[in-house]
Symmetry: C2
Subunit: 215 residues, 2 copies
DNA sequence: CCTACCGATCGGTAGG
DNA sequence: CCTACCGATCGGTAGG
């Protein structure tokens, strides 16, 4: 009898709060990841300041105070979103580089991977990072900047090689800033339901930046 | 006696509120412009949501409710900032185009003027427009978009001419979006105290985008 | 343009 | 992770 009660207790306790996802999805320990994912979507759609921790809690199926069990502040949650985004972006970028590529091919892969990071389905993390860094503390921002520098480091040898071959004009550091700007700005206007694909964007960027006969 | 009182009354009334600028600067009717300018600076530094109407009032030397005498809502003030920015930017751009320019020269002037609009001293209006449009109502955004389309219209014949001459590769519409991205993103990283000048940036952008021997 | 104020909302916490 | 709550702040308004 006691054994039966113990087995059934979790089920009996469940419907205390508001509607929950199925038990399969609860999967204790993943609530933190759920919060990060939900927060990223809301931060992107409405902005950090305009998103309340209550919004995030409700969209995750929690009550208003519960996000603070997982994160010590709203800002810490924002920082976690950005860290998770940079972790995934760096992984994606590393997986795409191939040792035998010539510089133009390498740049093409980097650009295509970056567009994927910015515009691929369900990718809210990096857009949030690009537009909400102002809400980080100085210490948090320093941490994110470090991840960004590591990410950008992979581009520099490629850009230098292109410049040496005469395929990229302009000061390499300014070129890097301008190129990242051109790519990053796409989160403002890209519409996946319109005609251009990520491959189209990559072709256009290569044609615009890389000089010479064809690429 | 009555005449004397009438003449002095405005002076006698002045010190009722908090510290004011000199009488010369008050200049009734310019308070609205002052609000727009102060709001632009604060919106840019802290973001729209993180700036309170009390911040704006205090920085203009008003009390907390007074901005609402000039603007019916905080959002209307934001919209006024953007309209004022676009008005100045379009004026600046129009004044710079010369009928005898070849396409590359024309693009150079457009880019230089755009950097001036984005990064020149005291230019907070357009950066606010670029990063706070999400806070506009749909109707306000439609109005701002119209001004932006008019501004961008001047670029299209230039880009088409460059494409026809083989100096600009890539689809012209995508090129326009990528180029504006490269330029607009500079508000994120440009530091007027560092080495590069607006002319340096213009040179780098031209070298990056415009193909051919030299420009 | 100021004074005095309102209702709403927010981030965060104690205690369980 | 929920309950119940706090202090602070905010956009906006009436009435002058």
């Amino acid at each position: 009898m006691a054994a039966v009660l113990a087995l059934e207790a979790p089920l009996a306790k469940r419907p205390r709060g508001r509607p929950r996802k199925t038990l399969d999805e609860r999967d204790e320990g993943n609530r933190r990841q759920q919060l990060i994912k939900v927060a990223a979507r809301l931060f992107r759609r409405k902005g950090f300041d305009a998103t309340s921790t209550r919004d995030i809690a409700a969209a995750t199926g929690m009550h208003s105070g519960s996000p603070f069990y997982h994160f010590k502040s709203k800002g810490a949650l924002l920082c976690a979103v950005m860290e998770e985004g940079m972790r995934a972006a760096t992984l994606r970028q590393t997986s795409v580089l191939q040792p035998l590529d010539d510089p133009a091919q390498a740049l093409r892969r980097l650009i295509r991977s970056h567009f994927d990071t910015l515009l691929g389905p369900g990718r809210d993390f990096i857009p949030v990072m690009l537009y909400e860094s102002r809400s980080l503390t100085a210490r948090q921002r320093a941490g994110i900047n470090k991840l960004q520098r590591e990410y950008e480091a992979a581009w520099m040898p490629v850009l230098h090689a292109l410049a040496a071959a005469g395929l990229l004009r302009a000061d390499v550091n300014l070129a890097r800033l301008l190129i990242f700007g051109a790519l990053n700005w796409s989160v403002q206007w890209f519409d996946s339901k319109k005609s251009a694909s990520l491959d189209d964007l990559t072709d256009a960027a290569m044609a615009l930046f890389v000089h010479g006969e064809s690429t």
